[in-house]
Symmetry: C2
Subunit: 320 residues, 2 copies
């Protein structure tokens, strides 16, 4: 067998973290760099909270809470209870074990380490080996949702308001001034066989990565770009994607998702991965000349995560 | 009765916190400003830890752990256990409830509030009313102990090395550049009837306050300055004072303590408060022309703390 496939996986939210876990189970075949969305990062209680990066860290170390899909399993909530008792902001749920990791992140940042270095340190502390997890940029990018209630930062919208306000537009603060993570660029310089866009929200999870200056050009210069649909059977697996698409006057279907990505990033994606239940949509897209791969994209357990990653690897090899 | 006695209490460590609790029980008679030692402050796990200020906050809100004399009573340790599990620095004990308060401090500092404002916020959250608690300076002061093992910051010496290394000298980093807390100066401008030096370590708790540029002049310009002995019956109540005095070639006695303070701050103190068990020392000092007040200075319960504060107030009134 030839050397391992060098792959960049763009991961935002639960779907990206699950697929990252899949690739982590295939390190004999793949050498992945997981590029995490930092647009959901925010400062809270003096801590830098990086929800999408942490979901990847927790998913890969198998300590993510499987029910919630975020945070630590076997968690306790003593600190948050006291913050609430003292009249502090307790709307954002940080468990005690989660806070321990945030303190270690804060410790590293206070010591002058970069976000990427601190993330590598945390991965090591959690026992993750053999792949890089890299926040998309060292510079601050903040996803802001313009709503009839005013501008809401991502967590205020997502957690504080439970995605209820209508989203008129998405503002990605700082994204045009941001630069791609140096670790991404040096990974790509050594050769990159493929780029995988995880099954993540294109507006809220992929755009804060893909709008970074020069990143699309860098990614497109590598091997095939594969996009995994976050829409299955006319609905988002989780999160507000279907609602956001409807608010934009779109149907929440796999076809609309393909159209949106093509509209946002023309020519970027070489291969679309749709779920078996969207077989009809796949045929329509193939009729339009799109290259589509259909498989079971649901990832409820580790076996399924690795199985999906494995199928993607096989499909990319056929491409290469 | 005339208006309340305006008093500045210098508080460092456990003794200062206990006496502050005493004054807090006398708000009908006293209007205190508690000036806390910030030389023990340090950055840990990305948090600004202010041990002496927090001891006052916890003592006044009656949530301080009575056994340990620091930190919260009814505390749990989930976060620290996880920090340790992740291989992080767990030598400094921060309980979950304590961490909640540190997160709120971090939140305030990140929002651009001053150390004094953040301290006031925390006092309010803890239900403390009717007196000001003010860190001695807004600028960073760090107590460094020069030992045969090299320079140790205060917590590394005190907690990490349990005060074992011999202290060759004490360096108060930043103290000459530091300015007195603005709240102290505005309190004193409105008139100050007395200054109380709590029963605190002169080298490690009082010097980081008293060495701040201009502060001795400011304090000496007010009513009488009263110093409460941290040495009782030839020993320090708690902490390394007796050991430090011995290492300096001094006897750990109330008389040596008076000599040291007079040597360090000539003419500052108008009234020495010694414990009843040091009656002989008091007589010697009176023979030398010192003004000495003898009483029971032990403060094991709230009643005793208030009783000592009350006797100090009566004694100051006689002075005024």
């Amino acid at each position: 067998m030839k050397s391992r496939l060098r792959a960049v996986l763009l991961a935002g939210g639960g779907g990206g973290a699950r697929l990252a876990r899949g690739f982590y189970g295939l390190l004999d075949q793949v050498e992945p760099l997981v590029l995490t969305n930092s647009g959901d990062d925010f400062e809270h209680l003096g801590l830098l909270v990086c929800p999408d990066t942490d979901s990847v860290l927790y998913a890969l170390s198998d300590v993510i809470d499987p029910e919630r899909g975020w945070g630590r399993s076997d968690e306790s909530w003593s600190v948050l209870a006291e913050v609430e008792r003292l009249g502090g902001p307790s709307w954002f749920q940080l468990g005690d074990r989660d806070i321990a990791m945030h303190l270690l992140r804060g410790d590293g940042l206070a010591a002058g380490r970069s976000l990427a270095q601190v993330t590598t340190d945390l991965a090591e502390r959690l026992g993750i080996k053999g792949l890089q997890i890299v926040p998309a940029s060292e510079q601050s990018i903040r996803t802001i949702l313009r709503t009839p209630e005013g501008d809401l930062d991502f967590q205020s919208y997502f957690v504080g308001r439970r995605c209820e306000p209508k989203v008129e537009s998405v503002v990605l603060q700082g994204v045009t001034e941001a630069e791609p993570a140096p670790d991404l660029l040096s990974f790509m310089e050594k050769g990159c066989d493929c780029v995988i866009l995880g099954p993540s929200n294109p507006y809220l999870s992929l755009a804060p990565i893909l709008e970074i200056s020069g990143i699309v050009e860098a990614l497109a210069s590598a091997g095939p770009v594969v996009a995994v649909s976050p829409i299955v059977d006319g609905a988002a697996i989780k999160g507000p994607l279907a609602k956001l698409m409807t608010e934009r006057g779109l149907e929440a279907t796999a076809i609309s998702w393909v159209d949106e990505i093509k509209n946002m990033y023309p020519g970027l994606v070489d291969l679309w991965v749709l779920d078996s239940r969207d077989h009809d949509a796949a045929e329509v897209l193939q009729g339009r000349g799109e290259r589509v791969f259909v498989c079971d994209t649901l990832m409820t357990d580790t076996r399924q995560k690795v199985a999906l990653a494995s199928q993607l690897v096989e499909e990319v090899k056929r491409f290469v």
